[in-house]
Point group: C2
Chain length 336, copies 2
């Protein structure tokens, strides 16, 4: 098979000529900018509709120095549990973008190189960037700042002057921790992932504040961070059991899933023998028995707000430097 494609595209000049008016007028009819007679406008719009003329975004872009694209940058090697999160964020971004006549260019960021992001930004293929997650030491954030392209991050960062859209993890974790204490939990184990991810540091802080609120001392013996592999989680669970904790708090859905698996294996009854709860809920925990107490966020809203903020910023409007979105506490059987 080979490509003998001959697309005949109709241009603004064709429309103008067919209607016996100037390109300028056609342009005005379409964009709505500038004055134009109601009648002419209607004539143009009708003609365009009938002959389904589509203005070329490339030409429009060249004239306006815009691309009508934004970049959605996510880690290339996202693990299985992060994908649904990014997917939902992207849906939110997409919805907003479409309403602005924008499209989404994806950039996959390698662990050790943001070459592709650099290409996209330096080549000006996009008008702005949404960065999908932040690291404690984040090359990408720094690069984006230096490049002076408008961008927002999903998550938080300690870099100054960066627009951040995040869930209110601190408040959420603090609240869940408090609630569990009030319901009788005395000794917690906390199992979390890499401390290179800002979100894990934040959740840790929320947990600590929750303890403090209720006048409970932090017990470092039972805080297991940087659990990246299932074996790490299993070891943490074993230790927690040995330490006789009342409740295991997991920083995310995967960890919680793995912890539950371990408890099942060890025939430890939830919640009779031990309680368990997760700082992040997802489909992964939906079908688990018993139902799991957790914090619930809305990644899609995160994406939508991020995109909306980015567009506001691009358009020169004033925007908040940090927006924290809300959450829900789901109290289920796993902590009864």
């Amino acid at each position: 098979m080979s490509n003998d494609n001959v697309q005949e595209k109709i241009t603004i000049a064709d429309v103008a000529e067919a209607l016996g008016i100037s390109k300028t007028t056609v342009s005005r009819a379409i964009s709505g900018k500038g004055r134009i007679g109601e009648e002419t406008r209607k004539r143009v719009l009708d003609f365009i509709e009938e002959n389904n003329y589509r203005p070329s975004p490339t030409a429009k872009g060249l004239a306006e120095s815009k691309t009508y694209n934004i970049c959605w940058a996510i880690p290339r090697d996202s693990n299985v549990t992060a994908l649904p999160f990014f997917q939902r964020c992207m849906i939110g971004i997409s919805d907003v973008a479409v309403s602005k006549d924008y499209d989404i260019l994806v950039s996959m960021i390698y662990e050790d190189s943001n070459a592709q992001l650099k290409r996209i930004v330096n080549n000006r293929k996009v008008d702005g960037v949404v960065l999908g997650r932040t690291l404690v030491k984040d090359e990408n954030v720094r690069f984006l700042k230096e490049s002076r392209i408008p961008f927002v991050v999903i998550g938080s960062t300690s870099e100054k002057n960066v627009i951040q859209i995040d869930n209110d993890h601190i408040k959420a974790c603090r609240e869940l921790t408090s609630i569990l204490i009030m319901k009788g939990t005395k000794r917690f184990a906390l199992i979390g992932g890499s401390l290179e991810h800002v979100v894990n540091k934040t959740r840790l802080r929320g947990f600590e504040e929750g303890l403090k609120d209720q006048g409970i001392e932090l017990d470092n013996e039972n805080v297991f961070m940087n659990c990246e592999k299932e074996s790490d989680v299993e070891r943490a669970v074993e230790q927690a059991l040995r330490n006789n904790v009342d409740c295991i708090l997991c920083m995310d859905d995967l960890i919680c899933y793995e912890a539950i698996g371990k408890l099942h294996k060890e025939n430890v009854a939830i919640p009779d023998k031990i309680k368990i709860a997760s700082f992040y809920n997802s489909q992964m925990l939906e079908n688990v028995q018993p139902s799991i107490t957790s914090l619930q966020y809305d990644p899609r809203e995160l994406g939508a707000v991020a995109a909306k903020t980015l567009f506001d910023y691009i358009e020169g409007n004033d925007v908040e430097e940090k927006v924290l979105l809300s959450y829900e506490v789901l109290l289920k059987n796993s902590t009864q």
Copy 2:
């Protein structure tokens, strides 16, 4: 915060002027097209490097009627198990695209509307499309054909003159089925998803051919298609147990995962009491006990080949209408 961004961009004209040569010469030095003095070329390239000038893809695109973007179209509501597949495909596409200086525009396709895909295509925001999966009655394929934009699909379709990149599901399923029979299996149950997906029809056919090869009659009683929910799968497993089958074949990883869960619940030993195998392997089945016999494909290669083929086609080269990629049969403990 607000955006007071003043990007001063250097253009090809600036380069030309600074070097006292014409834009054409600069253009030639960059593109490598046309004759140019070795010395001049070097001068230009050096200057560009130092002042890190980047040609505007928009302007280039306008002049060449190209966008330097391709579209990656996937279902918006992909379930959790499909996401890693699409993710890996995209990595393959991305690798090839980058090597061609192209970027990826994503289009999320709703169940019931391909409005966004239409927008992207009609507005000529991309030079070609990779469609991530096919349906038996596929609106998108039809739309893409009519729009005359270059495109390839990942998967198969009955539409004529469509470039298809697929795994060789028929051969793979046929082979696995045969092998299992040769190893002593007599009575199979087959559990599969929606027959609206081409891939499921194809796998079914492979299974049937495998049976036929070994002279075994197809037993419709034990073919359970359109199992979309976990409850469907569980019911199918129950029925299969009642029918005393030797082996359960699952069409994909999720179904297999659910089937295993059900067998565990029912305390049916694998493989002692019943064997189980999957026509699709993924991370999801990696940590399952016992290890699962399955077919293994490489989504990333799928994406890479799809992109490569698309570019070939765009460039006017002759391409195969249908490419079938290879697979591996993993024989594990679940069918010992």
